[in-house]
Amino acid sequence: MKTKNGENEMNTKVKWTVLALCAALLTMTGKAWADANPANDSGSFIIRITPNVDLGVTVDTSDAGWTDGGNLDLTADLNSTSILNTGVLLTVAGDFSNQELTLQGAANNSWTLDADEAPAENELRLYAMIGLNQNTAPAAGSISATVENLNLVTTSAQRAGQNITNEPLNNDTSKRYEFANADTTQFQDVDGMAVGTTRRLWLRADTPPATTSADQQTFTITVTAVTGVGL
């Protein structure tokens, strides 16, 4: 748009154009230099750090009990079901934030641990579930074998949770010691847990229909932290 000072504006534009051209020419001729052999300008090397990680779990039974205010000792009729009124508190420890847990039981006296759900003399069916750290005990129906006796604690260490194939699917396929997703009071994922994660371990004990011993039977339950990488 032509203005009163149009001529001056034009001169200014010309000056700026000339300055820009000069700057461009200086850039083209003054500073550039070539490197005859760029291939030897750099060298690389690799360092490798293998993390010496620490896995861990703290098992806290301080408030756990079969009855309100009770503890983990129980007097039970034969062929009866008992469920923890307050669960055992589990806390993931160490410095490795992809941990999972295995459960293993050991029978210390004359009774044995059942590996199927068929009632048998002197066999205790010991079920376990791990879920949200809260104090509402699950129903007996929530602590039972679903398929393949997945929730029985046996003398073989069994990993809690799902295999890595099913983990991202957010489904209930092949869960072991883990509540169904829809059980919102109890469910919380037990795969790939970070340090500091807390969970509650719930137990259900089904005594045998018959026994040959009237003595107290003790069972040791071992919770072990294991890596969740690839599992």
């Binding site: 230099w33 005859a36 052999n37 030897n40 690799i46 490798r48 750090i49 934030s97």
Partner: protein, 230 residues
């Protein structure tokens, strides 16, 4: 009317006279001062032109990891607890090569696995803090405290070692460079000439927490760059 003889005599005399006159004038000309010539347009008496030679210089650095190793390790592989510090006991030797006597170095690193490289000094899960210092080519490893500070973190961005040109005479704004008073580690790493040797020292701080227990590798690249104007 003159006879032919007379005419011939006149011709001979006139030639003789002209010859005499010629030589006389010639001698007089030789004896006289050289006349000064004027130039009506001196502006076009000369011409100039410029040739420009662009040096096709060669920058270079040789990175020699022979013998370089962490404390407690035989080489550049280490097994490390979480939340701990490792440092080299023997540094990596760097030698400036090529034909350009004003070279500086850049450091850059790449994380090849699941851990990443920290760009600040705060602790974070799965982040490695990788520090570097370049100094005199000697065998006394610097303490961990001498290999620290956010300016000395090696990241995914190539960063020039040394000081900005404005600070090169002083002791401020070092990157990957020891304080000038630090003996025996300090040696200037700005504007290095061909054949200069330096030692590269590394320190790694493992993260307090990790989601992977697998080996983590990191590639460190040292690149020679021009120190002109930097």
């Amino acid at each position: 009317m003159k006879s032919i003889y007379a005419k011939l005599e006149g011709i001979v005399r006139s030639r003789a006279l002209r010859t005499i006159a010629f030589w006389a004038l010639s001698f007089s000309a030789l004896a006289a001062p050289v006349p000064v010539l004027a130039d009506a347009n001196p502006g076009n008496d000369s011409g100039a032109f410029t040739i420009r030679l662009l040096p096709s210089v060669d920058l270079g650095v040789v990175v020699d990891t022979t013998g370089a190793h962490w404390f407690g390790s035989a080489d550049l592989d280490a097994v490390s607890d979480m939340g701990t510090t490792q440092r080299l006991e023997t540094g990596v030797t760097l030698t400036v090569t090529g034909n350009f006597n004003n070279q500086e170095l850049e450091l850059e690193a790449a994380a090849n696995d699941t851990w990443t490289l920290a760009s600040d000094e705060s602790d974070a899960q799965d982040q490695l803090r990788l520090y570097a210092m370049i100094g005199a080519d000697q065998s006394t490893p610097p303490s961990a405290a001498l290999i620290s500070g956010a300016a000395n973190l090696v990241t995914g961005t190539a960063t020039r070692a040394g000081q900005p040109q404005a600070d090169e005479g002083g002791d401020a704004n070092h990157a990957y460079e020891f304080s000038t008073a630090q003996s025996p580690q300090y040696q200037d790493i700005d504007g290095m000439v061909v054949g200069t040797t330096r030692s590269l020292w590394l320190r790694v701080d493992t993260p307090p927490l990790t989601t992977s227990d697998e080996q983590q590798s990191f590639t460190i690249t040292v690149t020679a760059v021009s120190g002109a104007g930097f």
